[in-house]
Amino acid sequence: MVVKKQERESLVHERYLRHQKKFPHVWCAGCGIGIVMGAIVRAVDAVGLSNDEVAMISGIGCSGRMPVYVDFNTMHTTHGRALAFATGLKMVRPEMKVIVVMGDGDALAIGGNHFIHAARRNIGLTAIIINNNVYGMTGGQYSPTTPTHAYATTAPYGNIEQPFPICQLAEAAGAAFVARSTVYHARELSRFITQAIQKEGFSVVEAVSYCHTTYGRINKLGSAVEMMRRLKENGVSQRAFERLPEEERADKIVRGVFVDRDIPEYTQLYDQIIARAQQAVAA
């Protein structure tokens, strides 16, 4: 569908959000998820996509509720399985832009297997992982990205597990595009998502957020504003990170595009399979 110039100039939120029906949203006041949603719709706008050609698929958790608010083809699936649902949709609708929104528990614990296999296949989905280091909706249990020694309702004596490095995991598993930013760096986040959507192949953007309601409270990290300030201070570019002395690196969140490589996309490869199979039948 061609989007008229005049329409394009209107406000992004009017075009891409289900603003008349579905607000106010369910998220806690001060949560970073809304910023990620804003970054996504601005990215969709920047790429110039119409609402009809975008699908947003989510799993379960705070992030799972995002598809309700955006005016795309939207699907709120089961916990951890969003990428698998999206894989089926992308296979039969390869022309659609399929954006999958997940939290850290959703994408990396219950959905960890689907995450690495979607990356390995390099199927043309954009995975946005909102990392707040905790299970927020269920009330603050430790997740696969909870830092070691941090507290959670299920880690009352401190977490003894190591957190997953999401971006390195995605890179090792075969993703075509991998980037990380934070909800403080909203414009950069939107820019990375814009690049991710345009990438053919599996693209991953880790959006580092926070949960002041559960994780922040139990770890005495202060209000949403204070947690946001921490993202501002700790979020450093790759170049800045490399210049830092070793002892100052520990708490830093490295922002940037880590992977941007051209590898054949899965649904395009499958089209070749169809051509080969049909040739064999004709012969």
Binding site: V68, M75, H76, T77, A84, L89, K90, N113, A277, Q278
Partner: protein
């Protein structure tokens, strides 16, 4: 079409192609793997797509995604994988997504006896996912019926916007029989109901007179929301009783009012019978033979073979049981469908012939039960 030697799994795969299936996602498991192998080769030939997923949970999810994209979609597995699929089968029930799930049953629980036949998943097929929901479950007793019921499973899935489970067993899946497949032009193929209203009027879960709301694929200009939460007519989450109750009533009603189409069965010599054998799947082959042997001995025995086991054909079983003394229910489990038979036949005696050790039930064992009494 000429007769050919064919395996049950292969007949199922060919039935899927004939019904218009153009997407398959699965994970290897004996005795269902053959279905995936045939479709990996056959689907791209007809422009369809096959994908081997990382597990059965993902397979079930992928076929739902594909169905939402507009493809007729199927997966195939056996007991262990079927257990893994249950949560997403529930999602398909809640979101009313047409799809076909094949379970070629093997002996369980757990890894059990790979891969001896079983009919141990009758109750799991009905109640495997959590929560109340209607479901359609078909069970073939021959290679040809594996083909036919696969076509019917797709037709019902599309017509009623529901997952349909094809409950095969290892016997039927791996057995080779001479079959003659129907000419393609004679096969009835049903497409899902789409809408004629413009996008702004479209309600994906509208309470229509037919109780089956039209379903539009993603990417067609009709943007809407799909969720596993209880939802309103537009698909958005709701907790309002005046929206939840009509939804529950409608999804049950859309199955119940179409039982004439959904219930597939066959009776043989029940008119003068004093004893009736009720069977389905591979066990129906032994039962049919036992009935023949009993008739040869002059015993008045009839046969009711069920191809649809869920919804349970209550009225049909009750009617058949009305005029008789005893019902024999042989099945390769320790009495699952027999529970339903007992529920509907009143005071008539129900004799279970059950086995859950991986062995087929022999005609002799059923004949013994007929003679007992």
């Amino acid at each position: 079409m000429t007769a050919r030697l064919m395996q049950g799994d292969e007949a199922c795969a060919e039935g899927a192609i004939a019904a218009g299936c153009r997407f398959f996602a699965g994970y290897p498991i004996t005795p269902a793997t053959d279905i995936a192998e045939v479709l990996a080769r056959r689907l791209p030939q007809v422009g369809g797509k096959f994908i081997q997923m990382e597990d059965e949970i993902a397979s079930m999810a992928a076929i739902i995604g594909a169905s939402v994209g507009g493809a007729k979609a199927m997966t195939a597995t056996s007991g262990p994988g079927f257990s893994l699929m249950q949560e997403n089968i529930g999602y398909a029930c809640m979101a009313e997504i047409p799809c076909v799930v094949v379970n070629v049953q093997r002996t369980g629980p757990s890894t059990g006896l790979p891969t001896s036949p079983s009919q141990g998943d009758v109750m799991q097929a009905r109640w495997g996912t959590h929560g109340d929901h209607p479901i359609i479950v078909l069970s073939p007793f021959s290679v040809r019926e594996a083909f036919d019921l696969t076509v019917r499973a797709f037709n019902m899935a599309e017509k009623y916007r529901t997952p349909v489970i094809l409950l095969m067993d290892e016997m039927i899946g791996h057995m080779r029989e001479k079959v003659e497949l129907p000419p393609p032009e004679t096969i009835e193929v049903v497409e899902r109901v789409i809408t004629s209203v413009p996008p702004e009027w479209y309600k994906a879960y509208e309470n229509t007179p037919s109780d089956v709301p039209p379903m539009i694929s993603f990417g067609q200009g009709y943007r809407y929301h799909i969720t596993g939460l209880f939802h309103d007519e537009r698909g958005f989450p709701t907790q309002r009783l005046d929206e939840i109750d009509p939804w529950i009533a409608r999804v049950f009603r859309k199955i119940e009012r179409n039982l004439r189409d959904i219930l597939i069965y066959e009776t043989d010599q029940v008119e003068d019978a004093e004893v009736v054998v009720i069977a389905y799947g591979a066990t129906a082959r032994s039962a049919r033979h036992a009935v023949r042997l009993a008739r040869e001995q002059g015993l008045r025995v009839g046969f009711l073979r069920l191809s649809t086991i869920w919804p349970f054909p209550e009225r049909i079983v009750a009617e058949v049981a009305e005029r008789i003394h005893r019902v024999i229910v042989p099945e390769m489990n320790l009495g699952q469908l027999a529970l339903e038979v007992e529920r509907v036949v009143g005071r008539r005696k129900v004799i279970r012939v059950g086995k859950a050790n991986g062995e087929m039930i022999a005609p002799r064992e059923i004949l013994d039960a007929i003679g007992r009494g």
